[in-house]
Structure formats: C-alpha cells, structure tokens
Amino acid sequence: MIRLDRSFVRKVNAMNVKLINPFINATINVLETMAFVKVDAGRPYVKTDNLAVGDVTGILGLTGVANGTIAVTFEEKCILTIVSNMFGEAMESLNDEIADAVGELTNMISGQARRELEQVGKVFKAAIPSVVIGRNHSIRHYSDGPKIAIPFSTEGGKFTIEVCFER
C-alpha cells in the first residue's frame, strides 16, 4: 500500500484517496500476471494539465457510487516491452496491436480494481475503453474532480495511471 503525504490528501477529497490503492494493486497484479514484469509504484500526485506523460493511453469511464475515468498512459519503450512479453514475440513500434493491448490492459486494471472496491461496498460499472496513440496527446477526463496521477516504473520504462472522479 502506498502511503500518502498530508499535502496530497488535502488536495483531493476523502473519496478519491480511498480509490487510489485498489487501482495501484490492480495495475501491479495485471502487469505482473499477464506480462511478467516487475512494477514499482511511485508517489501519487495531483496532475494539473491534460497533457499525457506517455505515448499511448487507454481511457475508460466508470459509473456507480461515483462517476469518473481512469487512464493508463505508457512510454513507447515501456509498452513495447510489456506487449512483447504478453505475446512472446518482439513488438517494434506503436501500431494497432499495441493499441488493442493497451485497451485490454486498461480493461483488466479496471476490472481488478472494481473487484477490490466492491469488497468495501463501492460498486462500479465500466464502459469499453478507448485508446489514443501519439506524442503529446491530451487526456480528457469526463469529470471535473482532481486528476490523481500514480507513476510506475518497470525495467522497460515508465507508465502512469490517472484516476479522476467527480467532486
């Protein structure tokens, strides 16, 4: 479990803080199980712009006890390593196969996190994810709440999860 410092907690409401750890746990579980990569979570922060820190992003809407979105944005080198591991063959460039894989990874992270959240009485439904590829693309969350970013590192590179729920 990631410990959150007080200045971070002050910036986001209690609801959002409770949502963070299930997404961190789900991300680590999905990538370690499906892609056999060791994943280290960094310290969450509040993101103030819409610019993606990665080159390819999966984004998915959630509805239920709160409405919001999660986005998973990968550096090119990171996602190529992850998908190469998933397929057992080298992937060389960002293409439709990579986009499809990012969509499915986003879907699985959402599913795992929703399973953990259900155990504490928070039930969510998920939409089908969409994927954006390209340097310096923007990520549009569907709600106006704080955008909580959680950076992750792997041997193959970095990626970031963004979680944004309505205020």
Binding site: V83, A101, G103, E104, N107, G111, R115, A126
Partner: protein, 124 residues
Amino acid sequence: MDTSIKVLIVDDFATMRRILKNILKQLGFKNLVEADDGTTAWEILENQAIDLIISDWNMPKMTGLELLKKVRADSRYARKPFLMVTAEAQKQNVIEAVQAGVSNYVVKPFTAEAISDKLAKILK
C-alpha cells in the same frame, strides 16, 4: 483432456484472443477459431462443429452473457462446455453467469495454469 476438439475463442480484443490461442496451442489444442463478438460467435456455432466456447463478457453487439444464454436456450448447443474469461469479477457477475449455466469462470488477469486447470475440469 482431449486436445483434438474445436475451440471457439470469443473476445473483442485481438490481444486476448492471441494470448488465449498461445496458451491453448501450448496445451496441445490445434483446432482454434475466433470471433470478436457474440453475434459472430453465434454465426460460427451455426456453421461449424464447435466443441468448446471460451468467451469474454463485455463485448459490442452481443455480450458473452447474452451468448451464453442463447447457447443454453438452444437444444443443439445447450450442453456445450462454456468457459467465461472476463475482467468482470464482481459477485453479481459470477452469480449471473452461474445462473445462466456457465461451465466455469476465469477472471482476468490469469495465468496459463489457471486456464489449463479450468479446461481440465470442464473437459474431463
């Protein structure tokens, strides 16, 4: 486990179909067909002799649960083994699938061993 059977893999994500195909090939299955939604899967069922269905839940056009209900409601296919492989892991999902007659249920993410174990159970 009879690996000569014909397996239909249904998932809207090509990534997941590819991962499942890789696992099934490693287990010795060679006769594999794919569909990217429930509607296409149903067309394949109507035209090919399918022995086992492995299906995702959340798909456009016809979901995995709708496909399962349609299969169970048709006497020609009602007894076909049906494995649900899905990220939908909330209690209500599992209850609905069991009530609709799913043979077994695997939650994504999964290991190759999890797929192998579930197949061994439903194909024994």
